[in-house]
Symmetry: C2
Subunit: 110 residues, 2 copies
């Protein structure tokens, strides 16, 4: 099966990897939020926390785009950023994994 | 001096009471934020905190409008909500204090 078609089992693997990455990234935002709230000292700091959440939420909404047409790029980015590992993609076709890891490696060399 | 004119010393009292109320209210938002962050369990909760801050910031921005033309109404509301006390307005003219506390009492009876 090529990179443009996804079997039922591939879709399950993809959904699981996607959700795992999303949960991990949200967890790290949660940790950053806890840190910022601990360090909070004045109203300016309060609104700075709101600005931080507004910005990061916009990024997360843009990044986690679950459409099969763009999923290889999403996974490549998530792999590059460390939110998923190669093992999390096991079950996808070899050519998908190959394509995803190739792009991911290219990004890493930039 | 009537309710529409503010002497230099009245402006100082007003600024101080205004800032005090703002700081107190922000402090209470900060406490609510700390509580919500402590109870945080999943990504939905994270974005619910962002929604809370977006909403409350909009309210605060609307409420804390430092223009002398509207300041008596602002102070009446702050008094009614408990962010300032009558004593915090000491130094304003008697008719201003009278007008502010009258409106504040009316609101309380609603």
């Amino acid at each position: 099966m090529g990179t443009s078609e996804w079997s039922k089992s591939e879709k399950e693997v993809a959904r699981q990897a996607f959700t795992m990455a999303y949960d991990r990234e949200c967890k790290s935002i949660e940790e950053e939020l806890r840190k910022r709230v601990t360090d909070l000292q004045n109203p300016e700091g309060l609104w700075a926390i709101h600005d931080y959440l507004t910005e990061i939420r916009r990024e997360i909404d843009k990044k986690y785009d679950y459409r099969y047409s763009v999923l290889p790029f999403i996974f490549a980015r998530l792999l590059h950023e460390g939110w998923i590992k190669r093992e999390d993609l096991m079950g996808l076709s070899e050519d998908k994994i190959e394509a995803i890891t190739s792009i991911s490696t290219l990004s890493a060399e930039e």
